[in-house]
Symmetry: C2
Subunit: 319 residues, 2 copies
Amino acid sequence: MAAPFSREEIRGAAAALEGVAVRTPLVEIPALSRVAGVPVFIKAEHRQPIGAFKIRGAFTALARMAPDVRAAGVLTHSSGNHGQALAWAARHFGVRAVIVMPDDSPRVKVAGVRRHGGEVVFCKRPERARVAAGIAEREGLAQVPPYEHADVILGQATCAWEVLDDMPEVATLVVPVGGGGLLAGSAVAIRASGRPTRLVAVEPEGAAKVGPALQAGQPVPLAHPHSIADGLLPAAVGALNFALFRDVVASSVTVSDEEIARAVRLLHDAGERVEPSGAVPSAAVLAGRVPSDGPIVALVTGGNVDADVYERLTVALSS
Amino acid sequence: MAAPFSREEIRGAAAALEGVAVRTPLVEIPALSRVAGVPVFIKAEHRQPIGAFKIRGAFTALARMAPDVRAAGVLTHSSGNHGQALAWAARHFGVRAVIVMPDDSPRVKVAGVRRHGGEVVFCKRPERARVAAGIAEREGLAQVPPYEHADVILGQATCAWEVLDDMPEVATLVVPVGGGGLLAGSAVAIRASGRPTRLVAVEPEGAAKVGPALQAGQPVPLAHPHSIADGLLPAAVGALNFALFRDVVASSVTVSDEEIARAVRLLHDAGERVEPSGAVPSAAVLAGRVPSDGPIVALVTGGNVDADVYERLTVALSS
């Protein structure tokens, strides 16, 4: 697929995010550098205002929406970070945000949506799309899906764009995959940059979708995605996302829940509070599955994790 | 001194911050609750976009400034978090921010100012006020001081205001003191709320200013403030700040650098990356110096700490 966004569009999206999202730092994690034999940095997206990179896509989608559509309010269904992001972005534009959340969503993410001014509607997890569509139609709200949306992808592209801008010599960029929005955005950014950076996709073993999709030439839905990485459980990558990343991804690897937990603990020891989904790229590096002949940047996508879950992950492994 | 700001003004300042600053959560820290014998929560201001509460005062000052003055740009001198905050707020309004920084400022804070779009000018620490005044005059920039400023104090008041709004039953609010902006703001918020919450000021032993000021009836400058809490080293509390907090502070306690380091380590174990200055209230609770017959909220004011300093603090104490 032809590059859907030019350098100028990505740069424009990044500029629009100034003062709304943080230009997060690259932080070296020496314990990962020792494992990899090359310098390893995280891109600290858990330090965003909502604790996750999703602010980039949600804001960009709202910023590029027709003002009269946006004014009526927006809606999404999300178990977490995209919902918080949309609430935050909607507040920025002074419009309503309704977030349909599965009733098993992490409490910290529900609380986050509310703190950022979002209206939460609970439903059973399998019914979320139907419930969301019903409310959107009844109340005239524009749906902003979490990943299958060109402007959301453009927003997510700004993350890798900043990495390439801050550290042009990065050899390998390691990205987690849920619905594929961040992976597609990263592919778009790398392609627009013209740099030879290798893009590595990482998924939990119980929710691996990129390998099968690359093999089949199209997204292949999973019957029962499962992992402690609660943000990476969509049943399939989006078709648009797949079209954008398929020719750019250099390799796709998986990590076990135990390996993810070990990465959460390592990042905890380095002073970074990271949710399981956010630790997935670091887990692949820690497991020795990301060979690289130059600096590695592992995206840390979020830090929103319930206190009891976090304690279990970090205390259990230290004994 | 009469309450300088009404409930409506504080509420208005809090509303203006929506979408700019995060309404940070109250997070219980069980290890502190066990020490205190009552529930202890932190107000997690290190999760703000700039990693510190200072965003509240800086933004509020800019929001209330005459538009034509603001348009010419702003300036401050700061070794850290106020500088980052002013850069962030200035970017929000699309105006210049020049930050004069001592050349021994923490690197992470210098990098933060730059990431948020601020222009950094280095100088020797003792010359910072003079250098700042010179540039402000030459370039027509409005100075926004870090604490001695009514609108900055109003902004900082929103922090305690949120605490009282989210947890009206809080019995004791524990606040660190540098120049006294946050303490004055907390006093203003408690007074405006009409609640009987006790306000406890905490300072490093090497930079204790509140006790002496309360005794003398006016700020008493320190010759050589020193502490690992680099954000709490102004030589004196501001006169305006003192006037606002003197009749509201219930008690003033000090903590040693070792006690501060112990609190950094405890918060690290709880998954919160906190800078030494930000851990000072928690240190007082941990040292058993904050008796309370009901829930305690200890403000955690920031998380911007250099990686090597943080590692030394957290690793040294775990052995």
